[in-house]
Structure formats: structure tokens, C-alpha cells
Symmetry: C3
Subunit: 148 residues, 3 copies
């Protein structure tokens, strides 16, 4: 396999997250970039970037929304949620750690059964804040296009 | 060389860190995942995950314990501590920075002499907290199986 | 392409950032490490590591200084700023987020025009602190040697 690079744009409310589609001060990044077999997915939060509706206040809802975005990003590149190999889990509140792991498991049971017995490598930290004070979780993922 | 993916499970006190071996709310991750020549090692803290004994309160002891885990993970995949290429160093207290670098150096002098003159690329930050309030350091590592 | 590893040392004020060129307690890391097509650049802050002058207090100046270091690192390995594929953006103060994105854009417009419409994948967090309390921003980058 080669080392080809592919760029997958991020869209919020139908707008490409790049200048001049959004303001200079706005977030601007790719949904993912593929390098060879590796998929670098931008950090996913619980923000509703499709409709622009307010971010849910509930931790589990934010976490599922973030995982939904990771899943969509992995599928967009022709892979799947089963092919996540590394996560960086960022929490706003340390108390959410057990909820984070439980919600992650339930999501894998539904959408990525391979990961239940073969979870990704993972690093965890509590941050001072994410991009908005109401964001409770952000998930940064490295995946692969295929495992063999 | 190819892009093969290999999964190395993490064990705490003999239990595989995957569901249903541990509770849904518990930490669940791989010790490492190898993708081609790259080794993604899960963040290592000073927690005594072999015996379950209390985590040492002393910074240097936590750091050595974390580095011991990195070393074991690198050796498990058939590589060595000398083949670390990138670290993300997370500290609970900024005052521990000089101790962190000194302990890292002493560890490399003993166990990874190549890194003394060829240290890994590295990024540093102080976090709000790690997975438990008593954790003082976490080390997230990317290594390689071989350098040439 | 192969999986060759190349190490590019970091120098501060002409001193190689490795022991015994600097003290055991000092920062010690590579400017970058290349693995195959991937370039892992050490986290770049606004610190003036050439002259040792005080770090600018102004956010935009720190950010440009950090981006200058990323650019130099990418060029040193034979690549360019256009070939950044992933960033981890670390801020000391959340209020600087809009300034961070605007300064990043202006830098790309001048020095990496490809990234204006094709920004890197990116993850953001506010940290408790960076290596020194006066550091306002740190940028951790993964790039590629070439895109095809």
C-alpha cells in the first residue's frame, strides 16, 4: 500500500469549514485526513453541527453525538467504526469518566462490535476547557482504512 | 513493509481490560496497537496495575512506573524503548517539569541509551487532572518497530 | 515508499536539546522525527528559542512565532507548511480561540496557501498550563513529506 494523502472537508450546517466559507475567526479544519492506511479524525464534540441546534446538556447525549461524528468520518473514508485504533479522550469534568467509558462501550456494542473485545489504544485527560465551556467531551481518533 | 494492524491487549491484575472482563464503567483499552511500523501505546500513568497496590505518592516513583509500562509495551511488540519517536507528556503539577525531564533522562541512560542523544519529538502540557486526582504524570507514546 | 525513520535535533540558542548539551532538568526533545511519509513535529510555543529573548506577551506574536517554528521544521525535512495534515491546538486562555483561528488563517494565506481551502484535521483544548505560565499557545503538528 502507498502513502497517498486524501483530504475530507468538514461541513457545519452545509458550509465547508474553510475560509472564505466561514469567518476568519471561526473554527476551520478537515473532518479527516487520510495518510496511507491511517485516518486522522478531527476532535469530535457533542455540538450539533448539522442543524446548529444548542448542544445537549446531558453528558451521554453529547458523547453519543461525538461518537456519531467519529463513525460518520470513518465511514466517509470507506472504513468503519470497527477500525479505530487510537483515541484521545478529553473530559471537562472528571466525574464523567465512568459515564464516558460506559457510553463508549454501549456505542461499540451497537456500532463497532469488534472493539468490545479489542478496544483501541487510549489516552485520557481532563482539560481546563474545550472550545466552548458547555462542551463536556471531545474525542480525537486515529483509525485505519483496513486492518490487514 | 506493509500496513498490517496488530492489537495488544492491556491487562490489570491479570484481567483483560475489555468488556466483559471488566465493568462497563471501567477503563478499557489496548496496551498498544501497531499499524505498519508505528506503535501507538496507550497513555501510561504511575498506577500499579499489576498488583493493584496504591499508586506511589512520590513523583519520581510514578514517573518510573509509567516509563516501565512504556518499555514493557514496546518490548511486547518486538521493539524496544530505544525506538520511541514521539511523546506527549502530561503533568498534574507544573512544578514537576524539571523532575520529569531529569527522571526521563536517567531512565533513558539506563534503558534506552540511543534516546539520550536522540530524544523523541515531544509535546508537553499541564492538565486539569488525569484519570485519578492522585496521578501526577501520564506519558503517551508513539514508537516504531524498527528505525531502518 | 518505505518506513525509514529520521531524527532532526532541536537547537536552542545554538545548543542541541539533548543531554549533556543541556542540563538534566532542561527540556530535551527532537525538532521532528520522520517515519516514512509522516513528520512528527514537537509542540511549538511562542518562546524565542533562537536568541533567548523574553517570550512576547502578545498572543498574535506568540502564535506567529510558534507557526514560524512549525514552518522551519517542515522545511528542514524537505517538505513545506502546505503539507501539514493534523494539528493539536493548545491554548492557555479560551478567549484567545478566535484570535488563534484568525492568526492561523493569515499565516496560511501568506505561507501555506493550500491549507486555506484544505485545512488540516485539528483537535483543540484549553490546558491548565503550558511549560511556562506565560506561554499562551502550543501547536503540535503531524505533517507529510509529500501528498502524493
Amino acid at each position: 500500500m502507498d502513502w497517498e494523502v486524501k483530504h475530507y472537508p468538514e461541513y457545519w450546517g452545509g458550509k465547508k469549514l474553510a475560509y472564505p466559507h466561514v469567518a476568519p475567526e471561526a473554527p476551520k479544519f478537515a473532518r479527516s485526513v487520510v495518510v496511507g492506511n491511517l485516518v486522522f479524525v478531527s476532535g469530535c464534540t457533542g455540538q450539533d453541527t448539522l442543524t446548529g441546534n444548542p448542544t445537549p446538556k446531558n453528558f451521554e447525549e453529547q458523547m453519543v453525538s461525538a461518537l456519531d461524528k467519529v463513525k460518520a468520518a470513518m465511514e466517509e473514508v470507506g472504513s468503519s467504526m470497527n477500525n479505530i485504533v487510537k483515541t484521545l479522550m478529553l473530559l471537562r469534568n472528571l466525574d464523567d469518566y465512568p459515564r464516558m467509558r460506559k457510553t463508549e462501550l454501549e456505542y461499540y456494542q451497537k456500532h463497532a462490535p469488534f472493539l468490545v473485545d479489542n478496544p483501541p489504544a487510549s489516552t485520557f485527560m481532563q482539560v481546563a476547557s474545550l472550545a466552548k465551556p458547555e462542551f463536556l467531551v471531545e474525542i480525537d481518533v486515529i483509525g485505519v482504512l483496513k486492518r490487514e
